[in-house]
Assembly symmetry: D2
C-alpha cells in the first residue's frame, strides 16, 4: 500500500478532528478511525464513520419488551438470544462506512451484496491510477482438480515465474496504452484523445478501484459470513478478515455472538439430524445406511471429526 | 404528549452524555438530539442518532472526480448539481435514526417505505398503553365529494360532537376490554388471561404504537417528498413536517437543494412541455387545442397561475 | 370464507382463460390457479400468477458453469447443492403472486418482510367490509407463563365465552359506528359524513384487509422458514402452511430441498459442535461441563432426543 | 453477434414450446420471446420470461378502489393517472426476465441498479470466451472538453486507426495469455495451470460476460429512465433502447404513460417555476434577473426553446 504525502496528511487531519457529541461513541473504534489497514499488495480498508454500538442493538430489542426488562447485566445474554434466534432487525440499528481500495475483479464479487450504499471511483469521469494486483508467489494457486471453484497447490518454478511476468507485463502495457489513448498527460497536440469512458475498457481486471461502502451491522454480518469463510476466494477473504477485526473493536458482544452462532456454527439437514440421533443412541451408522450421498456423508463426517 | 417522569429522566440522561469523537458532528442537530417534538395529541418524533453531514455527501461525490476538484467554496453547488440530476447515491452516505410514537393507522402507511430499518414496540410481547389519537376539532374533516382520497370541509356542531364522542368511547371501551381479557393488572385468580398476541386484536387503529426508524438521507428525502406533500394524509404529514425541520438542522445545504429541486419542483409531461413552448412563442392555447384532458389541463393551469 | 356470487363468477372466468404460451408452465400449479384456499374464519390465499419453475432455477445456476454440465438427471442434485450451500440467487429467478385476505394484525406482522411487492386494499379510498377474525374456541389460548411471546393452554368455560363475546361485540359495534360516521349507505342528508381516511381509525385490529403480494422464490422460502415455523403466531402460520402446499405444487424439487436443508434443519453453535464431537467420541457430557447455559443446553437436548 | 449452431438450436427449441396457461399472456411479447436482438458487436438482449400485462397493473390499482370503479374503457386513463402521480406499486406487479450478453465495463454500470435479480456467468467456475467489444469507428469519440463525463467529436484518421489497433491487440494478447496460464486446452502436461479465479484478472474490461437479469416493471422503468437517456453512455444506452422496444410490445399502455410522464417529461425547480409564471404573465426575464446560475439558465432555455 503506497500512500502519497497528500493522503497521509489528509488522514492525519481527519484523525485530529475532535468534537463533543451526545451520540454513542466507541473508544476502541475511534482509535482505528480513518487509518488504512493494508490488504493485498496495493489495497486497503479503513473505517471512516459509524453509528451505534452494542447498546443500540439492545435498546432496539427492548422496544419490544417494554421497560421492565432493562437490566444492564443481561445485555450480552439478550444479544446472544437475538443472534441465536435470527432476530435480525435490532442489528440493523448500527451502521458503518468503510473506504476500500480493491482490484476490480474483487469489486465485481463484492457488489453482489445489494443491501449496501456505494460510491465508487468513476473511470468515466476520472483517470485511473497505474496500480494492479499481482499475487504474492505463495498465493499463485493452480486450478483445483476436484473443485471447480477452488484452488489447488501453489505454482512453482518456471511456471510461476512465467505467470507473474505475464500478469505484470500485460497490466502494465495495457495501462500505458490507456494513457496513450487518453492523450492527457504530456498531450500530443495533434491528437484529440479518446474519451475516458471508452479508454478504460483497455484496463485489466486486476486494476485497483476504490469506493465508500456503507451498510448496517446485520448486512455486514451476512457479508462476513460469506466472505470471511473458507469457501470465499482468497482475494476477497483478506478484506473480510480485516473488516471482522474492526467489527470486533466496534461491537464486541455482537461480534462474539456472531462468531458463536453464525461463523462457527454448522447446519445439519433433516436427514443429518436423524443420523445424529441414531449415533447418539449408540447405533453404528455408515454411509450406506445413512440416506446421504457420499458427498454429503463426507461433508458431515469432516465436520464431526475435525 | 405525556412524558412520564421516567421518560424525562432518561431523556435528560441521554442529553447529558458528552464524549469526544473524530466523526463528523453537526452542532445544530446535537442541540436537538433526544428531545421529543410533540406531534398530534399523544405522539412525538425525536432524533436519537445520526451519521454524516453535508460534507459527507460532497466527499462521496468527489470519489468520482479525483482530487483536483476539491474546493470548499463549490460544495453547495455540487450538492445542487447532484440533486438536480438525481445522482442519489452520495445522499445515501448519511444516515439518521428517529424514535417515533404514532397511531397504528399512520404506522400502516409509513411502513410501506421499505428501504428503512425498523424496530416496533411489540404487542405480542408487551402490553399496549391506553393512548389513542382523537382528532382536534379543526381536523375532523368530511369526505371530499370530488376526490375520493381527500378531505372536504370540517364537520361542525352536533355531527362533530357525535363523531368525537364515538371515537373516544369506542377506543376507550375496547381498551378496557383488552385489559380485562389480559387479566394481568389486579388479576382475577379464577381467570387465566388471554394471550397478549390475541387480546391486542380488540384494539382500535387509532391506538398509539412506537418504533425506531432508521434510514439514509436519500430515502428520507423520498419519504419527505411523498409525506410532506399536500396530497398526504394530514396525520402523517405532521410527522413529515417535523422531520423536515430536523433535516434542515442536520444537512442544511442538502435540504435547501431538496426543497428547490424536489419539494418545490413540478414535472411537466411531454405534451405539457409542447404546450409551454407554444405559449412562450405567444400562441393562445386552450384546453381544446392543448391535447390534454380537462383534468390534466386544470392541473397544469393551477400550477402555472398559482 | 364467504365468496359473493360476483367473486365466484370472477374466479370461474379467470380459470376459464386458456392461452398458449412459450413460457415455462407448471400444470400442477395451473390446476390451483385463482382458486382461494380458506384460512381462518373469513380469510383466504390464492395464487394468481407465477413465473418460472424448477428448471428455471437450474438454468440460472448453469449460467455459471457453461454448457458442459447440462445433464437433466442431475437437476435435483444441483438444486440440493444450491440450497445446502446457500447459493440463493438462482432461486430468485422464479416469481409468484398471491391474493390474500387476512386480519390487519396479521398483515402488520407480514409486511415486515420488505423484499416483496404489495398492493393493499385502501381504507383511505374505499369502505371496509364488516368482517372480523374471531378465533375458533380451540385457538383461544391463554398467555404462556414461561414464554412471553407464546401461548399457553386454551381458555375454557365462562372465561372463553366472555372473551369471545367481547371480541365479537366490540368489533361489531365499532364497525357500526364506522358506518354511521361515514354516513354513506342510507345517508342522513343532514350530516356530511366523516372522511374515510379518518373513520377507519375506529375499526379493530381483527378487521380483514386484503392485498396482492408478490415475491421471488428465495424470499418466499425465507418468509416460510420464519412463518411456517412453530415459533410463529398461529394466525400467520396457517397462511404460511397453505402457501407451502402451493409451493410444493409449483417447484417440487426446490421445495423438497428447502424442507430438507432449511425447514427441517438445525443449526448448532460453535460450542454445541464441540459438545457433539465429545459425545460422539463417547464422552458423557452434562450441562455443567458443556459450557452452555441451562437454557441453551435444554434447547440442544430437546433437538437431539426428540 | 455470433450464435453457434448449438445456441441456434436451443433458441429454436425454446420457441417451439407451446403449452396452455391460465395466466395473462401477451401475444406481441410471445412473438419476441427467446429471440436475441443484437446489440454492439457481439452482444445481445432477449426476453426469456415475463409475468403480467397492462391489465395486471390496473387490477392491482383497483384493489384500492373496490369493485365499483371497474370499467375497461378507463384502464389507460387509470394507468396514466398512476404514472403521473408516481403511484409506483401497481407497476411492481409485472415482472420480466432478460438474458443479456454485454461487455464487463457495461455490466459494472448496470449492476448498480440494486433492485433486480441477477445470475452472471462466473469466471471463477468457467472459462471465458474470446470475445471483446471494439467500438465501431463512428462511436470512437474524443473526450468532451466541456463535460467531463461526455464525449466530443469522433476520432479520425491515424488516431482512430491507432486506437482501434491497440484495443484489438491488447484484448487479444491478454486473452491468449489467459488461455496460456489456464493451460486447459491442448494442455502442456508439465504445467499445472493457474486457477481460473486468478487467471481471469488478466482479461480486459471490454471482454464480454452474460447474465440473467430479472426485475419488476417499476424498476425497469427506473432503469430505462436513466439508461435510455441522452446522458447515459452510448454502450449501455443501446441495450436500454432495445429493452424499451420490448417493453412497448409487452405493456403498451404503461409504456406510453412512461414515455409521456417520465422519459419525455421535464422537471422545473421552484425557482424555474417562478420564472415560468413571470414569463407567461408577459414579463421579459433574462438570466441576470432570473435568480438562476448561467448553467441552469442555459439548461432551462434549451428545454423551452428546443
Amino acid at each position: 500500500m503506497n500512500l502519497t504525502e497528500f493522503d497521509q496528511a489528509e488522514i492525519a487531519a481527519a484523525r485530529d478532528q475532535n468534537a463533543p457529541t451526545r451520540r454513542a461513541t466507541v473508544p476502541a473504534l475511534e482509535a482505528l478511525l480513518f487509518t488504512p489497514v493494508p490488504v493485498l499488495d496495493h489495497g486497503f480498508v479503513r473505517v471512516i464513520d459509524y453509528m451505534g454500538d452494542d447498546a443500540a442493538v439492545v435498546q432496539a430489542a427492548r422496544v419490544s419488551y417494554g421497560r421492565g426488562t432493562r437490566k444492564v447485566s443481561e445485555d450480552e445474554g439478550l444479544i446472544r438470544y437475538l443472534m441465536r434466534h435470527r432476530h435480525s432487525t435490532p442489528f440493523e440499528m448500527c451502521e458503518i462506512k468503510f473506504h476500500v481500495k480493491l482490484p476490480i475483479f474483487v469489486a465485481r464479487q463484492w457488489i453482489r451484496h445489494r443491501t449496501a450504499n456505494v460510491n465508487e471511483y468513476s473511470a468515466r469521469y476520472s483517470v485511473m491510477d497505474r496500480e494492479f494486483y499481482i499475487p504474492a508467489p505463495e498465493h499463485l494457486a493452480a486450478q483445483s482438480a476436484s473443485n471447480r471453484q477452488g484452488r489447488g497447490d501453489v505454482l512453482e518454478g518456471d511456471e510461476a515465474a512465467a505467470v507473474l511476468a505475464l500478469l505484470r507485463e500485460d497490466a502494465d502495457r495495457n495501462y500505458s496504452h490507456y494513457e496513450y489513448m487518453l492523450n492527457e498527460a504530456e498531450a500530443d497536440p495533434d491528437r484529440r484523445g479518446l474519451a475516458r469512458e471508452l479508454a478504460r475498457m483497455n484496463l485489466t481486471l486486476n486494476a485497483y478501484t476504490q469506493w465508500y461502502w456503507k451498510t448496517d451491522l446485520h448486512n455486514l454480518f451476512h457479508f462476513l459470513s460469506l466472505r470471511a469463510d473458507s469457501h470465499a476466494q482468497y482475494e476477497i477473504r483478506v478484506y473480510a478478515d480485516a473488516m471482522l477485526a474492526m467489527t470486533r473493536a466496534w461491537v464486541p458482544a455482537s461480534c462474539r455472538a456472531f462468531e458463536e452462532y453464525r461463523l462457527g456454527a454448522v447446519s445439519f439437514s433433516a436427514t443429518m439430524l436423524a443420523i445424529l440421533r441414531r449415533m447418539l443412541a449408540g447405533e453404528a451408522v455408515d454411509q450406506a445406511s445413512s440416506g446421504l450421498s457420499k458427498r454429503e456423508w463426507g461433508e458431515m463426517m469432516s465436520v464431526l471429526h475435525r
